[in-house]
């Protein structure tokens, strides 16, 4: 079936991030529902008390504290050493995980291309707010070559990294997530872009992420041919990942049944996610990225 095979060439000719989209993204900001500790000074308040001008609290002096933060006025009045604590403005870890299994190569544009566009768009929002942006492929490798980017000037690096990314991985999602969790310890926002088409199941992988206490967003990408398959006849369906074969004689009844199965699959994923505080968003490759970001993700509270 010609329409089931994605046209890689066409989908890659499109620019990953259009200037119009970039202009729209510049006004946005990533929102975390939790306040995390950053490593570097950023533009958002941190749990950690630091050196900003915003006063936070006092505490008793203990040996070893920086003498510069002792409140001498307080010592004069009360004859006790107190230390002034200030709010620290910190940066935010923003991780994006892209499913790079071969099943992502389907659809028009391909789910993989769509995922890269989405990751680029969200990453750019992070860069504009001086967050620590890292986009990783779920390929299960121990040493990720994904750069950690900060600042608007890193946009070209982000795009370059995305364009070099390929979908060839055959490792299960669980393994890949596990490898990610071992490599990265920072807290922050994590966006997982995947089609969830993993026969070993996605639940284990999500549990790993939940255990990391990250603010997790799951974006479930499906192509149109998965949502409404346009096939007929007696077919031997070959799984592109494990070459598994499913023999079907397509009939309207079968198509209806498939749609029911897909709907229950989505419902299951949404249910599983919401139980664990993961924000679940299902999208089709037919829905444009800017629309997804500006409307659906804003509704979900990822951006504002």
């Amino acid at each position: 079936m010609a329409n089931a095979v994605p046209s890689k060439k066409n989908s890659q000719e499109e620019p990953l991030l259009s200037p119009a989209l970039l202009a729209q993204l510049e006004r946005m900001e990533l929102v975390s529902r939790k306040i995390f500790r950053g490593r570097m000074k950023g533009e958002r308040r941190s749990k950690r008390k630091g050196q900003s001008v915003e006063f936070a609290d006092f505490r008793n002096y203990v040996a070893g504290d920086d003498l510069r933060f002792i409140d001498w006025n307080m010592y004069a009045r009360l004859d006790k050493l107190f230390l002034k604590l200030f709010m620290e403005e910190e940066d935010l870890h923003f991780y994006t995980l892209i499913d790079v299994s071969p099943s992502m190569q389907f659809g028009s544009p391909t789910k993989f291309q769509y995922a890269k566009q989405l990751a680029g768009a969200l990453g750019y929002i992070g860069l504009c707010r001086a967050d620590r942006v890292k986009i990783e492929a779920l390929d299960g490798s121990r040493n990720s070559n994904a750069p950690t980017l900060r600042g608007r000037s890193s946009l070209w690096q982000l795009v370059d990294h995305l364009e070099r990314m390929e979908s060839q991985s055959t490792v299960t999602m669980t393994e890949a997530v596990k490898a990610f969790c071992l490599r990265n310890t920072g807290k922050g926002i994590l966006v997982l872009i995947t089609d969830l088409m993993d026969k070993s199941g996605y639940e284990e992988a999500l549990k790993y992420l939940v255990a990391r206490d990250l603010d997790i967003y799951l974006i479930h990408v499906l192509s149109q041919e998965e949502i409404d398959p346009d096939i007929n006849g007696d077919l031997k369906l070959v799984d592109c990942e494990d070459q598994d074969i499913a023999e079907v004689s397509v009939s309207q009844r079968l198509i209806d049944r498939y749609k029911q199965t897909l709907a229950s699959f989505i419902e299951q994923a949404r249910d599983f996610s919401s139980r664990r505080g993961i924000v679940y968003t299902m999208t089709s490759t037919e829905r444009s990225v800017d629309r997804l970001v500006s409307r659906y993700l804003r509704q979900r509270g990822l951006v504002r």
Partner: protein, 684 residues
């Protein structure tokens, strides 16, 4: 039929189809992102279960249906049909009057029954077969020449209508055999004999009741004749009128009698009521018993159904009736129709009525141009002749008078006898020349005769009925040579001395010897002793009856339906109207011979003649079928065509009529349906 191992192989086909369905050999591979959902879907549907797999699989059921139909087709289902061998057919349909009889099983007319049989035969023709339709009564017509178009054939057969005419198959056979056996022709230039066309073998179906005159000359050649008798096998009882006439007064000495002959074609005698009407008035009625067909003693023991063979040998029973009409005719003022009717409904109604016309007497005008001929005068003035003829004697010089010219040209005379004289132009009537020749080159005297014995008299000609000339002596005379088509009536050793010849509707008789010699000294000695013999008055009477239209009753002329009728009105009208029994009127123009010819005599009954535009009836004439063969509605079981005798095919040759072609067609339809569904699977 198939042998056991062929059946075995055929029986293996359905299991093979089923196994192919399980193996699913023809699946098209398609790469998908994941079979995860599909597998779940398929598991949900339990498609992997064998019976689930077969359930709702319309394609499989259709394929099994195709095989089932083909297997049934191999069983050769069929029914008893009629064999139709050959590839060219000629359907000869009898449309004569007797085909209107309704003695068929379903009560329709024989002609309709024959048509239905032909439709069946047409349906059974192969698409490459050609057929031809010829219908015949006493005339024939090729309704449709050879065609393969069944629709046209059926339409032409449907358009055949029953007539009220007799049947004569001769010319229809000529038309049919002519196509099957084309003649040969010689090329004048090369002097070689060339076959104009290949002989085409054909099967000829004759649909008739067998009431046909036997055919004497018939060379079938490549033609195979099959006779399909139409009508009841057991001869139905039909009383028919075969003769109805009013006698000639001359023969009965003044009394007028209507003569009727009834015929019973059944075996049992039948009592019927008959009535005779003059105009619309019932004049006479009677109850009579008509005896049945005589059965040969040898066949007495056979049942009615087995008597078919007897029909050819035993004539139908008959009864003659006479009605005296003298008193009625005496008070008759104008022409009156006479109708004779049988009051007994039977299978064949056309012969239950007969018609005749009693015209008021019109004296025949005869002019005799002679200076002195006592024998002629004597013979023309008998009491019998006076009743029918007005004989006028004139001197020969009357020829030159104006009155003669006018009367002769207008056709006032019916007959002119020229005694040793001749007009300049021939009159518009029949003539007799005594020892003179009509003007023109047609008639010649070739040789002088002296005392010659007469050796031959042509008594078969109506003019010479009962005229014995052997004892007649002739002193002087001349041998005659007549025009083309003339008939010699009396011959001497040297040649003909009396001859009759045609002249555009009229007839001329030339007698080669005079009765009386007009000598220069005024003596008139007899040249012959004929006037002393009884043959002379007979001759005169015959001449006046035959050439002078002396018949008083038109019914004496046998007007049969379909035959042209020559009408001579009482007055020389330029144009006349003829009204047929159904009331349809037709105008006729006068012919050069002062008479009229009417052709539209399809219907039996009384036709009336009047001057154009006038309501006054000039004369009536009757058209009757009166055919013994047609009234004998018993179906003959064989036809005699030449030396061949064709047995009726009444018990049809049984033959298989296969239905496998229909089944093969259904199988093809099922296969097409399957193909359509396969290409539009989404609708399953």
């Amino acid at each position: 039929m198939l042998t056991w191992y062929q059946w075995l192989i055929l029986g293996l086909v359905p299991p093979l189809i089923l196994s192919l369905y399980f193996l699913k050999l023809r699946r098209v591979p398609l790469e998908v992102p994941s079979t995860y959902l599909w597998t779940k879907t398929v598991e949900d549907m339990h498609v992997n279960s064998i019976w689930q797999r077969l359930r709702n699989n319309l394609l499989l059921w259709l394929q099994l249906l195709v095989v089932l139909i083909l297997m049934i087709a191999c069983l050769r289902p069929g029914c008893t049909g009629e064999k139709l061998a050959g590839d060219r057919f000629i359907f000869l349909v009898d449309k004569s009057a007797s085909m209107s009889a309704t003695d068929t099983e379903s009560g329709i007319t024989r002609l309709e029954d024959a048509k239905n049989q032909i439709y069946t035969l047409i349906d059974r023709m192969k698409s490459s077969d050609a057929a031809m339709v010829i219908s015949f009564s006493d005339t024939e017509g090729v309704d449709q020449s050879y065609t393969k178009n069944k629709a046209i054939l059926k339409r032409k057969v449907k358009s055949i209508e029953a007539t009220q005419q007799g049947s004569d198959i001769n010319r229809a056979l000529v038309a049919a055999t002519g196509l099957a056996n084309p003649g040969r022709t010689s090329d004048k230039l090369s002097n070689t004999d060339v076959q104009v066309a290949d002989a085409l073998a054909a099967t000829m179906y004759i649909f008739s009741d067998g009431a046909i005159k036997d055919v004497s000359k018939y060379a079938p050649g490549e033609l195979t004749a099959i006779y399909q008798p139409v009508g009841a096998v057991t001869p139905a009882s039909n009383i028919g009128i075969t003769t109805f006439s009013v006698n000639d007064q001359l023969d009965t000495g003044g009394s007028i009698e209507a003569f009727v002959r009834l015929q019973n074609s059944g075996f049992a005698p039948k009592t019927i009521e008959v009535s005779l009407y003059i105009g619309d008035q019932l004049t006479d009625a009677d109850t009579v018993t008509v005896p049945g067909r005589e059965i040969a003693e040898a066949n007495m023991s056979l049942g009615a159904n087995s008597r078919l063979a007897d029909i050819g040998q035993s004539p139908p029973g008959g009864l003659s009736l006479k009605f005296d009409l003298t008193s009625v005719a005496a008070v008759l003022e104008s022409a009156a129709p006479i109708r004779f009717k049988i009051d007994a409904p039977d299978d064949y109604l056309l012969d239950n009525e007969a018609y005749c016309v009693l015209n008021p007497s019109r004296l025949t005008n005869i002019l005799v141009l002679t200076d002195y001929n006592p024998a002629l005068k004597l013979a023309s003035s008998t009491d019998r002749l006076k009743k029918i003829a007005n004989v006028e004697f004139s001197e020969r010089s009357f020829l030159k008078e104006k009155e003669y010219e006018t009367n002769a040209a207008l056709g006032v005379y019916d007959l002119i006898i020229f005694d040793q004289c001749a007009p300049e132009t021939m009159p518009a009537c029949n003539t007799v020349f005594l020892s003179s020749l009509p003007p023109g080159e047609d008639w010649k005297f070739t040789e002088e005769l002296e005392i010659t014995p007469i050796i031959y008299t042509n008594n078969s000609h109506p003019v010479m009925f009962d005229v014995q000339m052997q004892s007649v002596s002739i002193l002087n005379g001349q041998v005659i040579e007549g025009p083309k088509g003339s008939t010699n009536l009396v011959e001497s050793i040297a040649g003909p001395v009396i001859a009759i010849g045609p002249r555009s509707g009229f007839e001329d008789i030339v007698v080669g010897f005079p009765m009386i010699l007009y000598e220069e000294d005024g003596e008139t000695p007899y040249n012959t002793d004929w006037h002393k013999k009884p043959s002379f008055p007979f001759f005169m009477q015959n001449i006046i009856r035959t050439l002078g239209s002396g018949s008083r009753f038109n019914s004496l002329r046998a007007n049969r339906p379909g035959n042209p009728v020559k009408i001579k009105p009482r007055y020389p009208y330029e144009e006349i109207d003829v009204k047929n029994p159904k009331g349809r009127q037709e105008s006729l123009q006068q012919q050069p011979n002062k008479s009229f010819v009417y052709n539209q005599t399809e219907d039996t009954g009384i036709y009336s003649v009047s001057e154009k535009g006038s309501l006054e009836v000039d004369q009536l004439f009757a058209v009757n079928l009166l055919d013994r063969l047609e009234s004998d509605i018993a179906v003959r079981d064989e036809l005699k065509l030449g030396y061949e005798s064709i047995k009726g095919n009444s018990t049809r040759e049984p033959a298989r009529r296969d239905f496998w072609t229909f089944l093969a067609f259904f199988a093809l339809m099922a296969l097409t349906l399957e193909w359509i569904i396969y290409n539009r699977r989404v609708f399953i």
